[in-house]
Structures are given as C-alpha cells and as structure tokens.
C-alpha cells in the first residue's frame, strides 16, 4: 500500500487533467467519425470514464471522499443508460435491419 502511494507522489494534477482531456476528445472524435450506433455509445462510455477518473483524482487531491461517491453514482447512471440505449438499438435494428445512424434520419424534421 505504501509503495502504491509513493508511486503516486510527484504526478502533477495537471497531467491528470491533460490525460483525461485527451481521452474525452478521443470519445468526441469517436462520436463524430463512426456511423455504427453501438460504437457511438461506446465512445460515450469513454467520455464518462474520463470524467470519472478526473473526479477521483481531484477527490484524492482534496482529501474529500464526496468526489468518489459521485463517481459511484455516475457508474450507476451509466449502467442504466447502457441498458436502455441497447434496448432502443435492438428495437431499431428489428425495424430497419441496420445499426447505421443515418437510418434514423426520419426524426430530423
């Protein structure tokens, strides 16, 4: 345990910020460049995870455990979101026989 904490000492909080921003930007890129709905949902999961890690890092830095409780709630929310989202995807696939997001353009107007 002590060695793990020692490993942590010396990493600036800035580097956590930069790292989580890069992961978040990768998630945004994934939403923009893919057409498969399931991959788009996976990119959203990536963004949620980046924010989770940043919340945990700041929580550790401030010595306040509220941030980690918030991460726990975000994980519960993500589980609910994935369950409903995948159910919607299955329903759409049953109607249109494709997971292409462009097959959903009837809702555009």
């Amino acid at each position: 345990m002590e060695t793990v904490v020692q490993q942590l000492q010396g990493v600036p909080i800035n580097h956590y910020l930069i790292f989580c921003t890069i992961i978040f930007a990768i998630g945004v890129m994934g939403v923009l460049i893919r057409r498969n709905v399931i991959i788009i949902m996976m990119s959203i999961e990536l963004m949620l995870n980046a924010v989770n890690l940043l919340l945990a890092a700041f929580s550790v830095q401030h010595g306040d455990s509220s941030g980690q409780v918030f991460v726990f709630f975000i994980m519960a929310l993500a589980a609910a979101e994935v369950a409903v989202g995948l159910a919607i995807i299955i329903m759409v696939y049953r109607n249109t026989k494709s997971v292409d997001i462009d097959s959903l353009n009837k809702l555009r107007w």
């Binding site: 345990m1 793990v4 904490v5 490993q7 942590l8 000492q9 010396g10 990493v11 600036p12 909080i13 800035n14 580097h15 956590y16 930069i18 921003t21 890069i22 930007a25 990768i26 998630g27 945004v28 890129m29 923009l32 460049i33 893919r34 057409r35 498969n36 399931i38 991959i39 996976m42 999961e45 995870n49 989770n52 945990a56 890092a57 929580s59 550790v60 830095q61 401030h62 306040d64 455990s65 509220s66 980690q68 409780v69 991460v71 709630f73 994980m75 519960a76 993500a78 609910a80 979101e81 994935v82 369950a83 409903v84 995948l86 159910a87 919607i88 995807i89 299955i90 997971v99 462009d102």
Partner: protein, 165 residues
C-alpha cells in the same frame, strides 16, 4: 511516477484503437482493455472501492452487454457502415480543436502542484460506505429507483410486440 505515464500511454493507445478499428467486436475488446487501464489508474490513486466497482460493473457487466448485443445482431466487418474519408477527417479536426481549446484553458489556470495524498484512507470501502450511508443516503436510494426504472424500461422496449393489432 513512471507507472502513471506508462498506463496513461496505454489508455490513450487503446482508446484510439477503439474508435479506429473497423471490426466492431475488436472495438469492444479494445474498450475492455482501456477500462482495465482505468482500473489501474484508480489503484494508483488509492481508490480501491472505485477500482473494484470499475472492474466488476464496467468490464464485467456493461462490456459483456455490448458484446452480447453485437453478437446478437450478428455484426462484423462486412456490415460495418463507414463514413466517407472527408467526414472522418473533419471529425478528427473537430476533436483536435476541442482538445486544443481545453489545453489552452489549462494553461491559463496554471495549477501544477504535484498530487499529494492528504488522507490515504478516503478511497477504502469502509470510509466510502460511511459517507455513502450518512450524507448521500437519499441519492443512493434514488439511484436504486433509477436502476429499477431502467430495467423495466429496457425489458419493455426490447420485448417483441404482439402482432394482433
């Protein structure tokens, strides 16, 4: 200290592989590896409860759900819809613009003090449980309601409708 940079590099690499791989099944597997590196990050932050929950809930439950749906819909490389190269290029440019904007904001902030663990005990299950069941009792119960609603909604949505209408 070097462990953090190594694991961060692995996370970024596998996240990039997730969004650039053509085969959806490989994409899910790369995402599982990404989440595993996130678990290592939580362990490095001494947040053991979050590490275990991330491991079980994200890698165990959510990713298996994704993989299950992919297998159920019988998706593979041949059925994968791809955007044109121009749209891809524009998407990457837009993502990089977002990244540059955020990094510029951080330069203005100028917070670069090293991360110091004030209280190494806060990430343990015992302390988090105390906080969760004292200050955050109402949100905790509400999240159980949310999960119940999501479960019922998912079953209702995915059920086949009867054809008698």
């Amino acid at each position: 200290m070097t462990v953090f940079y190594f694991v961060a590099f692995l996370s970024i690499f596998f996240a990039l592989m997730t969004i650039f791989t053509k085969n959806p099944v490989h994409s899910v597997l790369y995402l599982v590896i990404t989440f595993f590196t996130f678990t290592v990050h939580y362990i490095l932050l001494n947040a053991q409860f979050l590490a275990v929950v991330n491991f079980i809930v994200y890698m165990g439950a959510i990713m298996v759900l994704f993989l299950f749906v992919l297998m159920l819909l019988n998706l593979n490389k041949d059925t994968e819809p791809m955007k044109s190269n121009l749209v891809k290029f524009m998407g990457v440019i837009a993502g990089c613009c977002l990244l540059v904007t955020f990094l510029g904001v951080y330069r203005v902030f100028e917070i670069s003090n090293p991360l110091t663990v004030i209280n190494p005990e806060i990430g343990l299950v015992k302390n988090l449980g105390k906080v969760l069941f004292n200050e955050f009792l109402l949100p905790f119960e509400l999240s159980s309601l949310l999960l119940l609603t999501a479960m019922i909604g998912a079953i209702l949505l995915a059920k086949k409708e009867p054809k008698q209408i």
